[in-house]
């Protein structure tokens, strides 16, 4: 899977690239709109992650380019928070999804995987980790082929974990993924703990392993 990251901040781009590479993607990055334009005119990418605010123009123009060339690339736009205009405009132009800055890398990963799964028919709708299987279409979860019944939030949580398997995900990232900015972060963590406890209990109850591990009280990791 080939991803083009268009981001003008070097540090941020480098960080994202190495993160995505760790997740098994092939990543290239450019820091200006013009460079991005020449890249997409020469190469084919599976996904383009484009920041709207670029030094030499709006990332929205790149979307028009891609759509004009009927490029098969999926598009994920990065907008500033509260810039609803950009969001709406981007989606209208044909972007597949948006993520608001600043975002958690785990969130980005989940979004990318979800877009790719939806757009690439080759992409499997089945997530598997050990004996835990999730069918993303029917939303069925099985452990050792035994179906388990999860609430909506528990399901979202599990999918988020499985997209970011073996990686540490911070509580903030999970809370934001599940609840957006609906309530204060501090309150979220107690709720989060509840959900995680229940999810873990359900997986173990169906004969699974205790995959969800707490990491120094700062986050969790879905791992063996």
């Amino acid at each position: 899977m080939k991803i083009l990251v268009v981001e003008d901040n070097y540090q941020l781009a480098a960080d994202l690239s190495s993160f995505l590479e760790e997740n098994g993607f092939v990543v290239e990055y450019v820091d200006t709109l013009s460079k991005a334009r020449s890249k997409v005119s020469i190469y084919t990418y599976d996904l383009v992650v484009v920041d709207i605010g670029l030094p030499d123009g709006s990332g929205l123009d790149l979307i028009s380019d891609l759509k004009g060339n009927s490029s098969p690339a999926s598009i994920l736009i990065v907008t500033a928070k509260n810039a609803i205009e950009d969001k709406v405009r981007g989606l209208e132009l044909g972007a597949d999804d948006y993520i608001t800055k600043p975002f958690h890398k785990a969130e980005l990963n989940a979004r990318i995987r979800s877009i790719l799964r939806r757009n690439k028919f080759s992409g499997s709708n089945l997530l598997q980790f050990g004996e835990v299987k999730v069918d993303l279409l029917s939303m069925d979860v099985t452990v050792n082929e035994t179906p388990i019944d999860l609430t909506r939030k528990e399901y979202d949580l599990l999918v988020y974990f499985m997209y970011n398997a073996k990686k540490v995900i911070t509580k903030e990232s999970i809370a934001e993924h599940l609840w957006g900015d609906h309530i204060d972060q501090a309150d979220n963590f107690d709720f989060l703990y509840n959900h995680i406890k229940n999810l873990r209990k359900k997986i173990i109850g169906a004969g699974g392993k205790g995959y969800i591990q707490s990491v120094y009280g700062m986050g969790y990791k879905f791992s063996d």
Binding site: L12, N82, K101, P102, D184, A186, D187, N188, F191, Y216
Partner: protein
């Protein structure tokens, strides 16, 4: 202290001054005319007295008969001791003037004369009708003059306030209507009064300076809020890398946690400040009539689970016809912040209630009374607790949104409940 308009005040002072002048001049003129009458009559009386004296000397023998003919002479008996005691005296009296057949003012002087060893009371009289008439005329005309003068001055001051001070009041009006950040569209008020000109130009200069300062401040906030986001994102990402590194975490859990938490806090702060600035810049002006019921239900649905986990409950009592003229995005933020506030501070003494009537939206939650001043809760960073998880911007955001959409948000506390209500300020 009671205040008066400048011109009213000047007019009053003028009138008092004129009244004083009037009384002084009236007093002066009466004294003057009285002393004139006195001089005139005294001369006459002296002349008559001397004439009587001369007559008495000249006609020693037949004086008795002559005296009988003389008018106003009366032989005093012992019974007339009162006259003896009083004399000489002067009095004014109204007496019938036989020549003109009218009653005139006379001045009478009674003296005692000694003729041939007999005491006579001699009363002389002089018509002073013309003098007193003149004096009365004088008073009358001066009173008339005063009344006319007072009237003219009052009218003139009314005219002045209408005409001369009109530019002044128009400049005042502009000052009154001026709002920071909005500038002044009104043209300069035309005036040829140098004081007003000076005032206006000072005011305009001040406005320019204020606008400039405000713009700079806004720009600064905007830039700060926006530009810190990328470095913060980097700090956060790098910290996440550290969190994934068990070697680092074994040694520095609390340090990494602190960096991560504070970076998140700062980032949220920046985002919210940025939002505030954007709201103040009027970037969300897609005002439509939002029917609130569906929106509120959606929000309540989104937080229901959180409410339940906090052992709280939430009740709604929504009126279908309630609507607000507001940008839907801003209404979302408004609701989100009020709900967040209610969930954060709500206790399980009772449920959080959201209700709407045809024109009011109320969100209430149970809780202890505020330990801070209620009138300050809409200020930025004014919070009873300093927990790092609270931004201290939520309610000021609510206030700003309401202000900009002609909505009035009120806070009250009653029956153990914190109540926020939003009403259309135009009604």
């Amino acid at each position: 202290m009671q205040s008066f308009r400048l011109l009213t005040k000047t007019t009053l002072i003028y009138l008092v001054f004129i009244a004083l002048t009037f009384f002084v001049s009236v007093r002066y003129l009466t004294l003057k005319s009285d002393s004139y009458i006195n001089t005139q009559t005294e001369g006459f009386f002296e002349y008559r007295q001397a004439k009587l004296q001369r007559m008495a000397e000249r006609h020693q023998t037949e004086i008795e008969e002559r005296l009988h003919e003389m008018h106003g002479l009366k032989l005093l008996t012992d019974a007339d001791s009162l006259i003896r005691k009083k004399a000489p005296y002067v009095r004014d009296s109204l007496i019938l003037n036989q020549e003109k057949e009218e009653v005139n003012m006379f001045r009478l002087k009674t003296i005692i004369v000694d003729i041939n060893g007999k005491n006579y009371a001699y009363t002389m009289r002089i018509n002073i009708e013309d003098f007193t008439k003149l004096r009365a005329d004088l008073l009358e005309s001066i009173t008339k003059a005063f009344v006319i003068l007072a009237l003219v001055i009052t009218l003139f001051s009314l005219f002045l306030s209408g005409f001369l001070l009109r530019p002044f009041y128009r400049i005042l009006e502009q000052m009154n209507l001026y709002k920071v950040g909005k500038g002044i569209d009104e043209p300069l008020v035309k005036t040829s009064t140098s004081e007003f000109k000076k005032m206006q130009s000072l005011f305009r200069k001040m406005v320019c300076r204020t606008e400039e300062d405000y713009r700079k401040l806004k720009e600064y906030t905007e830039n700060m809020a926006h530009e810190i986001q990328t470095p913060l994102a980097i700090i956060r990402n790098k910290t996440e890398n550290l969190i994934a590194d068990s070697h680092v975490m074994e040694a520095h859990t609390s340090t990494v946690k602190a960096i991560y938490d504070e970076a998140n806090h700062l980032s949220n702060l920046g985002t919210t400040l940025n939002l505030l600035t954007k709201i103040e810049n009027g970037e969300y002006s897609n005002v439509v009539t939002v029917s609130t019921q569906a929106v509120i239900e959606r929000h309540v649905d989104a937080v229901k689970e959180l409410v339940g986990l906090k052992a709280l409950s939430i009740e709604t009592n929504l009126n279908q016809s309630h609507s607000l003229d507001i940008d839907p995005f801003l209404f979302d933020i408004l609701l989100k912040n009020l709900l967040r506030n209610a969930i954060r501070y709500g206790t399980n003494a009772g449920s959080i209630t959201i209700s709407t009537t045809s024109n009011t939206l109320t969100i209430s939650n149970y809780g202890e009374p505020l330990s801070v001043k209620p009138e300050r809760i809409f200020e930025r960073f004014y919070s009873s607790n300093t927990s790092s998880s609270s931004l201290g911007l939520g309610l000021s955001l609510v206030k700003r949104i309401c202000d900009l959409n002609q909505l009035e948000v009120k806070y009250s506390y009653g029956n153990g409940q914190h109540i926020f209500s939003i009403e259309n300020a135009r009604n």
